[in-house]
């Protein structure tokens, strides 16, 4: 059965871009262990030669004509949704 360490949980949180408290890390460790313990049952299935299913209604490569569609929402309106903006652009903290 799979088990995860507190460091594993911190690693998963980092992969997921979630800054967890230590307390939450410990509680998720138990939950994730239990969930992995449950889903591990799939290991007993023989799936040799079975094709995986990612999409159920058999539509593949649905194309449309390459025509510009600006959409119903103006740029200004979209920028106004951002928590912070400056000079018609979305503002973020320093990256470098």
């Amino acid at each position: 059965m799979s088990t995860v360490s507190s460091d594993d949980v911190r690693g998963l949180a980092q992969l997921s871009n979630i800054q967890l408290s230590d307390e939450e890390t410990e509680s998720f460790k138990t939950d994730i262990d239990n969930i992995l313990g449950y889903i591990d049952m799939l290991g007993e299935l023989d799936t040799t030669g079975v094709e995986p299913t990612y999409q159920v209604n058999d539509l593949r490569n649905v194309f449309r004509d390459d025509v510009v569609d600006a959409g119903p929402v103006a740029r200004e309106e979209l920028i106004s949704l951002a928590p912070e903006s400056l000079q018609h652009q979305v503002k973020v903290p320093k990256v470098l």
Partner: protein
């Protein structure tokens, strides 16, 4: 009980107006506020639209099949006139600049959205206890859960606040709360209804369906929502044609794996009685096996978290939604905003998704689940060669107590054990009211049909309803 046809006809005959119906629905919503089923009401926009419809009726215009009929949408549907929160802090103040395609379809036929209903945040859960804005109470017993994740929509339908309400169903989020609150709840074939403008959860199983007090009303609403949408490339051409005649004698399979000792005895009894009703109507009901049922929940809790982790990556505190204060770097801004904006169940699912998709575990979990999903689909296909419709209970128990399962994610997940398999296969399913427990709690049964045979489920549900 109020029905769509009744409201529409009274409006068209001039016995009432769209405004009066909307006002009455808003009053009922306010009277039912103790259940905490709604997160917001759209008073202003709803009344404006009602006046517009009344004016058009006066002018003798055709106002549509749902003219003046009030409804409620789950708060993960983008609707003009109120915020769309998905019941998460992340979107608490989010006012959508577009509407969901299915909302547009309903509005074109004159329907009027009067409110947005509570859900488990981002539709992650089976009880509506994971909402950032409080728990919704069951319509029949305030100490019990509403079910979920579309709990609020189920409760407002059961309380007759509106004749229909919209939900989204990824693994049972319409059917299970429908069962818990004694109403019809329909999950269409994957691709029958557009997902555009509904907060995405798991893109390979998300479907848009509804709750109604009668099978005919649910059918009417689905027929209006059905069809291809150029904004959702997984949608199918509109194949849905309601069946007026009752179905011919059907071969129905009662899935044995859903009738074990783990299931509540009263749920088993109501399901067997329902099978007897079907027999009395001339159908045959045989016990059948779907051995992959055993693995369905494990498949689901790999596939869905994987898709969730991807779909929820967009909530980063940058372009819209909650942005945490005091972040010194972009990485901190992401991490803090997502910590504050998501509920614990959201975080759990995102992290499980990151785990099953990470290199080293991808083959053992995600790829194995995708293959197991194929095996499950093959077993459905084999059953549907001999049977027209399959039957199970909708949920293993009636509504459980508020707080009863919150500390045990697996126990909570098990409430979806009957509804998850059809979701993974993309086939349609409906929860039909099938009586109550001795304690007075509703119990529902689930009817499942092959892909695109949605109309058959409604025909059968209508036949049972009339019996």
């Amino acid at each position: 009980m109020i029905t769509i046809a009744e409201i529409r006809e009274r409006i068209l005959r001039g016995e009432t107006s769209a405004r009066a119906e909307v006002e009455a629905a808003l009053k009922r919503a306010s009277d039912a506020s103790g259940y905490h089923a709604l997160l917001s009401t759209l008073d202003e926009r709803a009344l404006e639209r009602a006046d517009e419809i009344d004016a058009r009726i006066k002018n003798g215009e055709d106002v549509g099949a749902l003219a003046g009929v009030p409804f409620v949408a789950k708060d993960n549907y983008l609707v003009f006139g109120a915020p769309t929160t998905a019941a998460a802090k992340m979107l608490e103040d989010f006012v959508a600049p577009v509407q969901a395609t299915v909302i547009e379809c309903l509005e074109r036929e004159g329907a009027i959205c009067i409110g947005k209903s509570n859900l488990d945040a981002y539709a992650h859960g089976g009880s509506t206890e994971n909402s950032a804005f409080g728990v919704t109470n069951n319509a029949y017993d305030m100490t019990k859960v509403a079910g979920g994740s579309s709990g609020g929509s189920a409760v407002v339908t059961a309380l007759n606040v509106v004749p229909f309400a919209l939900g989204s169903d990824t693994g049972g989020s319409i059917r299970q709360p429908a069962s818990f609150n004694g109403v019809y709840g329909f999950k269409p074939t994957f691709g029958m209804t557009s997902r555009y403008g509904v907060v995405a959860m798991a893109s390979s199983t998300d479907t848009m369906g509804c709750f109604a007090a009668t099978a005919a009303d649910a059918e009417l609403v689905q027929s209006i929502m059905a069809g291809k949408d150029t904004k959702d490339h997984t949608t199918l051409d509109d194949y849905f044609t309601p069946q007026v005649q009752p179905p011919k004698a059907l071969k129905i399979g009662l899935i044995k794996e859903s009738m074990t000792d783990d299931v509540d005895p009263e749920v088993l009894a109501r399901t067997r009685e329902f099978a007897d009703t079907l027999r009395a109507l001339g159908h045959t009901v045989d016990d059948v096996e779907l051995p992959m049922s055993k693995y369905a929940l494990a498949i689901y809790y790999i596939v869905v978290p994987a898709e969730v982790s991807s779909n929820l990556a967009r909530y980063d505190g940058v372009r819209y939604g909650l942005r945490a204060d005091g972040a010194a770097s972009l990485a901190e801004l992401y991490g803090m905003s997502r910590d504050q904006g998501f509920m614990p169940e959201n975080k759990r699912r995102i992290m499980i998704g990151s785990y099953v998709l990470s290199s080293g575990f991808y083959d053992a979990y995600f790829q194995q689940a995708a293959k197991a999903r194929t095996l499950l689909i093959h077993q459905y296909e084999a059953l549907f060669k001999s049977y027209d419709v399959l039957l199970t209970p909708t949920a293993p128990t009636p509504a459980f107590g508020i707080g009863e399962n919150v500390d045990d994610p697996i126990k909570m997940y098990l409430a979806d054990i009957m509804t998850v398999p059809p979701s993974l296969a993309g086939v349609p399913a409906i929860s039909v009211p099938a009586g109550k427990s001795d304690a007075g709690l509703p119990i529902g049964v689930q009817l499942i049909a092959p892909a695109k045979q949605d109309a058959l489920l409604f025909a059968l549900a209508k036949q049972v309803e009339a019996a």
